[in-house]
C-alpha cells in the first residue's frame, strides 16, 4: 500500500513495477527436439546441426560436426540412400532438403581443402583388432582411434574399402574420393594389414595380443539358384563381376547380358555391364517394380541408361547364346507363382545377383558366438563371446553403407565402455519434432536445387561419376532450405511477437530467454515459432 497521505499527486512511475507474470497459468519454455533427419540417419548424424553451420557458410565447422559421427561424408553423400530425406519434414511443404548433396559437398571440400580429422585422445594402452576394412570396420577403427585405442585392421583384399571398393562401381563412387577419405582414417595412426584373411579369430586375437575384436568382414557368399545350364553357358556371380571391373581385366561378358535379381547389386551389375560394352543389359526379376528391393534412385538411373527389365520372370534354363524364362504371376499374398508360359531371350552371359550371406567359417568354435542369419549381437553389438563384437553386413540388419557406419560407431563406443568396465553412456534422445509443430508460414516456398546430371550418353561409355555435385552457392542455397525442425535458429520471432516484451534476445548463438516476471503466458511465441522449439508447460500453482 502507498505510504503517501490521501489525495496528493504521486510521482509517475514505470509500469515495470507491475509484475504481470503472476497472471500466468502456463509458461513457455524453449526445447530442443529431435529432427526427423537425425532420427532417420543410420549413422546417427546430427544432420540439422551441421546444416545449421553450413547455412552460415561455415563449411569447416559443418564438416567437423559431421565427422563427429561419420568419417566418410564424401562417400556417404554419394552412395547413401538418404533415409534422412525420406523423413525430411520439408517434403510435406515442397520437396525434401537435398541433404546428401550438401553432405557430399562438405566431404569434397574437406578433401580439396585438406581439413584434417580430429586428433585422437591420449593413448589408452588397449589394442583392438578389426577384421575387415569395409564401412563398418573403417567406422569402428576411426571412432576407436579417436578414443585413444590402438587399432589394427586385417583385410583379406589387396586394398582397403571392402564393398565400397569391390561392390560399388566407380561411376557411383570415384576411387579418388574413396582413397582420400579412407586414407584420412589411416593418417590417424590406424594400422592396416592387407591380404590377410582371418581364418581363425581366436588365434588372430591371441597372436596380436588384442584386448578386443570387432568383426566386420561382411556378407561375401553369393546365393545361388539351381538353374540348368549348358556346359558352354557363361554364368557369372555379380560380386565377382563387380570386383573384376575394379581390376585391370574385367570379366568377359559379351554383347547381350542378362542380370538375374532385383536388388541394388543387380542394378550395379547391369549398369556396369553397359559400361563394359554390352549393347543389351536385361534384368530378369521374378516380381514387380513395386516389390523390387532395389532403391528407386538406382532403378531410375539404370532405366535412363538403357537397362531394360523383364518383370515377373524367372530363368529356367541357360544355353550358350540364349536363356529360357518362365513368366510368373503374383498370387493373393504377393508371391510369384509359375504360369507354365515360356519365352526365350538372347544372352551371351548371365550374371547372378540373388543376394549374399555372411561367411561365418572364421568364427570357428569361438565360445558363445551364435549364428542365425548372420552373427547374433546384443544391443551393444557384442557377440556371445565377451570382447568379440560384430557389425555391418555380417549381422542381421539392413545391408547399406550407412547402417554399417552406424554399427561401427556404436560398436566403438561399446568396446570403449567394455574395456573400461563401465556401462555404456547412452546419449539423451529428444522428443521427435513433428511437421504439425512447425509454423510453415515463415518458410518461403523453394524448389530443390537439382544436381546437374551428366548426359545419358556419356554415362554409358565409361565409369565417370554419374551425378554431379553442387557448387558452393547451390550447396548454401540447399542448406538454407532446412527448416531446423525442433531446434532454434535465431529468427527473432519469439522476441518480436511478445506483446509484453517478456523475451530477451541474448548474444548471437545464445538464443533467447523468457522474462517470467512479465510473461502473461499468452502462447503467441509458441504459435509463431517457425520450427516448434517452444512449448507451453503448466505453471506449478
Amino acid at each position: 500500500m502507498s505510504e503517501h497521505p490521501f489525495a496528493v499527486t504521486l510521482e509517475a512511475g514505470s509500469s515495470r513495477a507491475n509484475l504481470t507474470g503472476s497472471w500466468r497459468v502456463e509458461r513457455p519454455a524453449y526445447v530442443d527436439r529431435l529432427p526427423p533427419c537425425n532420427d532417420a540417419c543410420p549413422a546417427g548424424e546430427n544432420v540439422q546441426h551441421w546444416l545449421y553451420d553450413a547455412e552460415a557458410g561455415s563449411y569447416e565447422a559443418a564438416w567437423r560436426s559431421l565427422v563427429e559421427d561419420n568419417p566418410l561424408p564424401a562417400t556417404c553423400g554419394r552412395v547413401c540412400f538418404h533415409p534422412c530425406e525420406t523423413a525430411c519434414n520439408r517434403a510435406r511443404l515442397d520437396e525434401a532438403v537435398g541433404i546428401h548433396a550438401v553432405e557430399r559437398f562438405l566431404g569434397d571440400a574437406a578433401v580439396s581443402r585438406r581439413w584434417r580429422l580430429p586428433e585422437p585422445a591420449a593413448a589408452s594402452g588397449f589394442r583392438i583388432l578389426v577384421v575387415g576394412s569395409g564401412p563398418a570396420g573403417l567406422s569402428a577403427a576411426y571412432h576407436l582411434a579417436r578414443l585413444g585405442h590402438e587399432v589394427v585392421i586385417h583385410e583379406a583384399a589387396p586394398a582397403a574399402g571392402g564393398m565400397l571398393r569391390y561392390g560399388i562401381p566407380a561411376y557411383r563412387l570415384p576411387r579418388a574420393v574413396l582413397d582420400a577419405e579412407v586414407g584420412a582414417i589411416f593418417d590417424l595412426g590406424v594400422g592396416l594389414v592387407l591380404n590377410r584373411a582371418v581364418t581363425d579369430i581366436a588365434a588372430a586375437k591371441a597372436e596380436g595380443d588384442f584386448d578386443a575384436v570387432y568383426l566386420a568382414f561382411g556378407a561375401q557368399l553369393s546365393r545361388r539358384a539351381y538353374i540348368p545350364a549348358a556346359d558352354s553357358a557363361r554364368v557369372l556371380d555379380a560380386l565377382a563381376f563387380l570386383a573384376s571391373s575394379e581390376g585391370a581385366e574385367p570379366a568377359a561378358i559379351g554383347r547381350r547380358v542378362v542380370v538375374y535379381g532385383g536388388g541394388d547389386t543387380a542394378m550395379d551389375a547391369a549398369r556396369s555391364a553397359r559400361r563394359l560394352g554390352a549393347a543389351e543389359a536385361v534384368i530378369v526379376y521374378r516380381r514387380t517394380r513395386e516389390r523390387m528391393p532395389a532403391h528407386d534412385v538406382e532403378v531410375e538411373e539404370a532405366l535412363a541408361e538403357g537397362v531394360s527389365v523383364r518383370w515377373l520372370s524367372t530363368i529356367s534354363r541357360v544355353d550358350e547364346d540364349k536363356i529360357v524364362i518362365e513368366k510368373m504371376e503374383l498370387d493373393a499374398a504377393g508371391f510369384p507363382q509359375p504360369t507354365g508360359e515360356y519365352d526365350e531371350l538372347g544372352a551371351d552371359s548371365v550374371i547372378l545377383a540373388l543376394g549374399q550371406d555372411a561367411d561365418v567359417a572364421p568364427i570357428g568354435d569361438l565360445a558363445g558366438v551364435e549364428v542365425n542369419d548372420g552373427v547374433v549381437v546384443d544391443d551393444h553389438m557384442m557377440t556371445g563371446c565377451p570382447g568379440v563384437f560384430a557389425g555391418g553386413d555380417m549381422v542381421r540388419a539392413e545391408r547399406t553403407v550407412t547402417v554399417a557406419i552406424g554399427h561401427g560407431k556404436k560398436a566403438a563406443r561399446s568396446i570403449d565402455a567394455w574395456l573400461a568396465g563401465k556401462p555404456e553412456h547412452a546419449g539423451e534422445r529428444h522428443e521427435l519434432a513433428p511437421f504439425e509443430d512447425l509454423n510453415t508460414w515463415y518458410y518461403a516456398d523453394a524448389p530443390r536445387t537439382v544436381q546437374p546430371e551428366l548426359e545419358a550418353v556419356r554415362r554409358q561409355t565409361g565409369f565417370e561419376e554419374v551425378v554431379g555435385g553442387l557448387t558452393e552457392s547451390n550447396a548454401l542455397f540447399e542448406a538454407r532450405r532446412c527448416m531446423s525442425c525442433g531446434n532454434c535458429f535465431e529468427c527473432d520471432n519469439c522476441y518480436g511477437v511478445c506483446p509484453d516484451n517478456a523475451v530477451s534476445k541474448l548474444a548471437a548463438g545464445d538464443r533467447y530467454a523468457f522474462d517470467y516476471d512479465y510473461c502473461k503466458g499468452c502462447g503467441i511465441c509458441v504459435a509463431e515459432c517457425p520450427c516448434g522449439a517452444i512449448v507451453m508447460v503448466p505453471e506449478l500453482i
Binding site: 504521486l10 510521482e11 509517475a12 512511475g13 514505470s14 509500469s15 515495470r16 513495477a17 507491475n18 509484475l19 504481470t20 497472471w23 547455412e55 552460415a56 508460414w441 515463415y442 518458410y443 518461403a444 516456398d445 523453394a446 557448387t471 552457392s473 548454401l476 542455397f477 538454407r480 532450405r481 532446412c482 527448416m483 531446423s484 535458429f489 535465431e490 529468427c491 527473432d492 520471432n493 522476441y495 518480436g496 511477437v497 506483446p499 509484453d500 516484451n501 517478456a502 534476445k505 548471437a508 522474462d515 516476471d517 512479465y518 502473461k520 503466458g521 499468452c522 502462447g523 503467441i524 509458441v526 504459435a527 509463431e528 517457425p530
Partner: protein, 337 residues
C-alpha cells in the same frame, strides 16, 4: 553467389529477423536495443493485438525520427491498460486526449512545434477504431483536409473493447458484439453497415494512406518508415485482433491477423494523394471460413444448420476486395519475397 540471388528460404523475410540476414534488412523489432516504446507491466489482456501493434508502430516511428517524436493518444483500451496512475508503460513523450479530439490535439501539438521553430520533432496520433472511425472522425477529417503534419494511426480491433465490446463503425458484417447479438435470424452486425476509414482517408487526397496488420512486421515497418519520410497528413490503419472481443485464443492473435489478409477480408494497400498505388498480393489464398471459424464472434454462423448464406455473403466481400485491389497479384510478384 553470382549465378543466382540467394533467398533466405529458411525464414524468407517473413520472420522478425534472421542471423543470416544483413542487419540492414532486419526489422526494428529484431534489434536487441529496440525502443520498447510500450514497456512491460502494462495491463493488456493475454495476447493483446493492440499492445503489439502499438509497440511495432511506435518503435518504427522512433527509429525513423531518431526518438524525436510526441505521441497523442485518444482514450481507449490503449490508454486504459498502459497508464494506471501513477504508473505508465510509455517510454515516449505522450499526451492523453479525450475520446473524440485526438486529431485536434495532434494538430495543436504540430502547430506549437511550428511556432517554436522545431522542425525536427514529429507528431504521431494514435487511437482505436472508436476514437477514429466514430467519435473522433470529425476532428480527424479536419486534420486531413487541413493537411496538418501528423501521422494518425488507427489500431482497429473492430469494436469498443474497453467498454465491453460494443459495435463500432468498423465492426464487420455478421460479427456478434454486445449490441449486435445474433438473435434468431439476425446475423449479428447487419450487412451493409459500417465504413472503410482507409478509403475515406484516401478520398481526402492526403499524401499517404496505408493499411497493415500485426501479422507482417516487415510490411508494417516499411509503411511507417515511408509515412515518416513525408510531411502533411498521413494515415495508417492497423488491424489488431482482440482475443477478448473476437473470442479467439490468446496465442492465435497473429494467425488471425494473417488469415484476415490471406482471405482477402483485410486488403493491405498503400495510397498517395487520392490514388491507390500498390496492394500486397495474397500469398496463400484461403476461404473466409478459415478466418471466421476460430472466432467466437462468428460462432453463430457455424451452428446447426450453418448459415451458409451469410458465410457466402462474407466470401463475396472478400472476393470483391480481391478484385478491387488486385490481391492475387501478378505472376511476377507471386506473393513471394
Amino acid at each position: 553467389m553470382a549465378e543466382q540471388t540467394i533467398r533466405f528460404y529458411q525464414v524468407g523475410s517473413f520472420a522478425i529477423g534472421n542471423r543470416l540476414v544483413d542487419p540492414q534488412q532486419r526489422t526494428v523489432q529484431s534489434d536487441r536495443n529496440r525502443w520498447n516504446s510500450l514497456t512491460s507491466g502494462h495491463r493488456a489482456c493475454q495476447g493483446c493485438g493492440q499492445a503489439l501493434g502499438a509497440r511495432y508502430v511506435l518503435d518504427a516511428a522512433m527509429a525513423a525520427t531518431d526518438g524525436q517524436m510526441i505521441v497523442v493518444n485518444a482514450t481507449g483500451c490503449l490508454v486504459a491498460f498502459s497508464t494506471q496512475f501513477p504508473e505508465s508503460s510509455w517510454r515516449v513523450p505522450w499526451i492523453h486526449s479525450v475520446f473524440g479530439n485526438a486529431a485536434a490535439v495532434g494538430t495543436g501539438v504540430a502547430a506549437a512545434l511550428k511556432a517554436a521553430g522545431d522542425t525536427k520533432t514529429r507528431v504521431v496520433v494514435v487511437a482505436g477504431d472508436g476514437g477514429a472511425v466514430d467519435i473522433g472522425f470529425g476532428c480527424l477529417s479536419g486534420m486531413f483536409e487541413r493537411d496538418d503534419d501528423c501521422l494518425f494511426v488507427c489500431y482497429d480491433n473492430e469494436a469498443y473493447m474497453n467498454t465491453g465490446v460494443q459495435r463500432s463503425g468498423a465492426t464487420p458484417a455478421a460479427a456478434r458484439t454486445a449490441t449486435t447479438e445474433a438473435v434468431g435470424r439476425e446475423p449479428g452486425n447487419a450487412f451493409g453497415k459500417g465504413k472503410s476509414l482507409p478509403l475515406l482517408a484516401v478520398a481526402h487526397g492526403i499524401p499517404y494512406v496505408a493499411t497493415a496488420t500485426v501479422a507482417d512486421v516487415h510490411d508494417l515497418e516499411a509503411k511507417v518508415g515511408r509515412a515518416m519520410e513525408l510531411r502533411g497528413a498521413r494515415y495508417l490503419h492497423v488491424l489488431v485482433p482482440c482475443p477478448l472481443g473476437w473470442g479467439t485464443a490468446p496465442e492465435d492473435t497473429i494467425r488471425i491477423a494473417r488469415l484476415a489478409c490471406e482471405t482477402g477480408l483485410f486488403p493491405l494497400f498503400e495510397a498517395a494523394y487520392g490514388e491507390i498505388l500498390h496492394a500486397t498480393p495474397i500469398r496463400r489464398l484461403v476461404p473466409v471460413e478459415a478466418y471466421l471459424r476460430p472466432q467466437r464472434r462468428f460462432a453463430h454462423l457455424f451452428g446447426d444448420p450453418p448459415r451458409t448464406d451469410d458465410i457466402a455473403r462474407i466470401q463475396g466481400i472478400a472476393d470483391r476486395n480481391i478484385r478491387r485491389f488486385g490481391l492475387l497479384g501478378t505472376d511476377e510478384e507471386g506473393g513471394q519475397r
